[in-house]
Symmetry: C2
Subunit: 321 residues, 2 copies
């Protein structure tokens, strides 16, 4: 399932729904959902998305999405508010996905909002996530174990668990399934989808980057340069280390750095050139596993099929233990 990334701004959301409906109507076979929703999701950044305006868009029966993905509230209570409003606006038909980055956030979200799905984000994720966190190994199993116990204790519904952050290939997806995930979402890998609406310079920078543990970093500096500074302070954006970041680390003042960044914006795709590039390449630590541009559907099928075949093979190979 695909998600429209509305983020903190819904001014284009009606258009995005129109495009999605058109693409869906062009499919050879139509996709059905249990509650007759549009078979796509929409993601919102709660620190900036306007609640009432959003509800008026998603409550329209022809827009009603299969899922809404909520992330990065300014206050934890906003998750419950949004969840209630969405369930009311879509008559409970829209599934609520809530993204968390720690065990404590997961337990609190289940207690306050009882989402249908918890998206558990490891710190290997590209773009924004908690500045301090853990990788899916071991974040995912601790979260699942703790949430299930807490939900039972407090008589709350247990959500499904979706892993995100570092999932690039079928082997990563198989790993997440082995740790109890019901599914996974990929971000960085889809930056190299044919359909991705990103600049060619950005896409090439993703294809070029290797060894993301060494070549990417989670920081506030990219937000500062891009002017996306409304994020709550405990989030940072992971991107490929570039000239902007190196200059920042070497003590260049932010005003000068921002001036050079603004000049790079005018260069277009060259602004992502190797070595001299200053434009932001948000990407996860798994960026080195992204090596070619493919149709999004092919990526999805490949990751799923690889995971199934890996699990079968590994399960057979440990049979003797």
């Amino acid at each position: 399932m695909g998600f429209i990334g509305a983020g903190n701004d819904v001014s284009e959301l009606e258009n995005e729904f129109d495009k999605a409906r058109k693409l869906l109507s062009d499919l050879p076979t139509s996709l059905q959902t249990a509650r007759d929703t549009l078979p796509i999701g929409v993601g919102f950044l709660l620190w900036g998305a306007p609640l009432q305006e959003t509800m008026s868009i998603i409550s329209k029966p022809h827009n009603r999405p299969a899922a809404v993905w909520l992330f990065a509230p300014r206050a934890p209570a906003d998750l419950a508010t949004w969840t209630q409003e969405i369930r009311q606006a879509t008559d409970g038909a829209t599934q609520i996905w809530i993204q968390v980055g720690t065990v404590a956030e997961a337990v609190a979200a289940v207690e306050s909002a009882e989402p249908d799905v918890l998206v558990v984000q490891g710190t290997d994720a590209g773009g924004h996530g908690l500045s301090q966190g853990a990788g899916l190994i071991p974040l995912l199993p601790e979260t699942i174990e703790t949430v299930i116990k807490a939900a039972e204790q407090k008589q709350k519904a247990t959500p499904l668990f979706v892993a995100t952050g570092g999932i690039m290939t079928g082997s990563c997806f198989a790993a997440a399934l082995a740790m109890g995930a019901h599914g996974a979402t990929l971000g960085t890998r889809f930056l190299a989808a044919e359909e991705a609406s990103i600049a060619p310079g950005y896409q090439n920078a993703v294809l070029r980057a290797k060894d993301g543990g060494a070549s990417t970093v989670r920081s506030h500096v990219y937000d500062t340069l891009r002017g996306t500074t409304q994020w709550p302070k405990h989030y940072g954006g992971r991107g490929v280390i570039n000239a902007s970041y190196k200059d920042f680390e070497n003590g260049m003042d932010l005003e000068q750095n921002k001036k050079l960044y603004d000049q790079a914006v005018k260069q277009g795709d060259e602004g992502w050139d190797e070595g001299s590039g200053r434009l932001t390449t948000y990407a996860g630590t798994g960026v080195g596993l992204v090596n070619k541009v493919q149709p999004a559907g092919e990526i999805t099928a490949e990751v799923r099929e690889e995971a199934v075949s890996i699990l079968k093979r590994v399960s057979e190979s440990v049979g003797g233990l």
Copy 2:
């Protein structure tokens, strides 16, 4: 298989070998290795361990270990030197394990030293590791894929891959196997082994800690306070966030912090008390999955059996996809 952690100091290594031989001779059935080595390993920190003294100990036929684990060289070339010396000292009977934390380190180690085993350490590991890194998802699959290609291209032997850093339970081990690991090693989990020779205060702090992505941090400050400052600068130690770390973050000068640390050392186990504790609790982000003290053998068996049963169950459950 267990490893003696000689670290950077071999003054106790002969004694440790004596103890190990005695414990091994008390086993109901004796453990055999292919090359008649002692069925244990020894780990060395290359930035500090003395090469010739080490060789004179491990070359003695009754000490000859099944494996030697090399980590943290001051210069990458030291890995090749140590590997050659060990292979000569033990007539090639001792397997060489080399620990790396990035894809680039892995490729370089295989090219220069052709180890038998690459230990791939994710940044979730407790204690020392690269200050900047990735979690096992996606570090492990990128490392395996890249090393295999590079080894073929340069006609070098392909090592086995052992995952470490965040592996706490059978589900984590199953995840590592799904990503191509031949095995895994656990550190933090064994801090709660009955046999662990650590202070009860330290062990209790491990049992108490939860949600390690939020409650641990990789930093230089613990080394500074403990006086273990000879580590090459690109390594940091991950430990549970404590009063020392909070004071450091809040701007307390290091001299004052060290004075308080030295006072805490005199308190013994109380130096690890919740909230006020200042002594270092090195532990990985998976520390929240460590909840009871068990015999080491039971931990090993449990992790292995859980992994096998998880892989069988998950493989069956995806059969319909």
